[in-house]
Assembly symmetry: C2
Homo-oligomer: 125 residues x 2
């Protein structure tokens, strides 16, 4: 269980996802990079130990699920849960802020800027 | 200058504010705790070295301004800039996510949940 610094909802969310990497890994899973090997190739050059740590955190906090796609050796695919998908508005707000203040950012597809979390909920919820 | 890991707007925003403390300090300034001594008393129990570091970061990145309110010893008050105020939607999205997923969080005033960044822009912009 996460140890919360206070009952402030902002601080508490940051107790879970308040670091440079967690939302970046979640972003990559959101856009369809679901395997460890694919995630390792993200342009931010994440190290294997940080990636493993953040995947574990995301799974422990229920933001992603893990599904085997291969046996011997067993390998997993990661998918968003509803709880993870519900961080989309946080990411969209970060995107808009970056566009206003940081020149030269990559232009994400318009559909990403206007999507609702429900659009990316896992099947069956 | 911040060294950006990629041109992804999400990752780039997190290169600046992606840690447990920066947005918490900004939140406190946003709700009117403008002096160092007041900020030190936030319920999250920030240490003096982390507070000094984050205030420096926030000022360097142009998210807050610093204004002397006392001489000998000189002391400063911190206020949001437009760039800092424009992080309000990020904080609001974190608040809504927390309310959905983390029980027992403090209820922020309704006005905070519906405010626009323009409502908290500094005078004269």
């Amino acid at each position: 269980m996460t140890d919360f610094r206070s009952t402030c909802p902002i601080a508490s969310a940051l107790d879970i996802i308040g670091d440079k990497w967690t939302l970046v890994v979640l972003r990559s899973i959101m856009v369809g990079q679901r395997r460890y090997s694919e995630l390792l190739e993200m342009p931010e050059r994440i190290s294997t130990n940080i990636l493993a740590d953040r995947l574990q955190l995301l799974e422990r906090e229920g933001l992603i699920g893990k599904h085997p796609y291969q046996q011997r050796p067993q390998r997993y695919e990661y998918t968003l849960t509803e709880k993870g998908a519900d961080l989309l508005p946080v990411m969209q707000a970060l995107v808009e802020w970056s566009y206003k203040y940081i020149p030269g950012r990559y232009q994400v597809p318009e559909s990403y800027r206007t999507a609702k979390p429900q659009d990316i909920y896992p099947n069956g919820t």
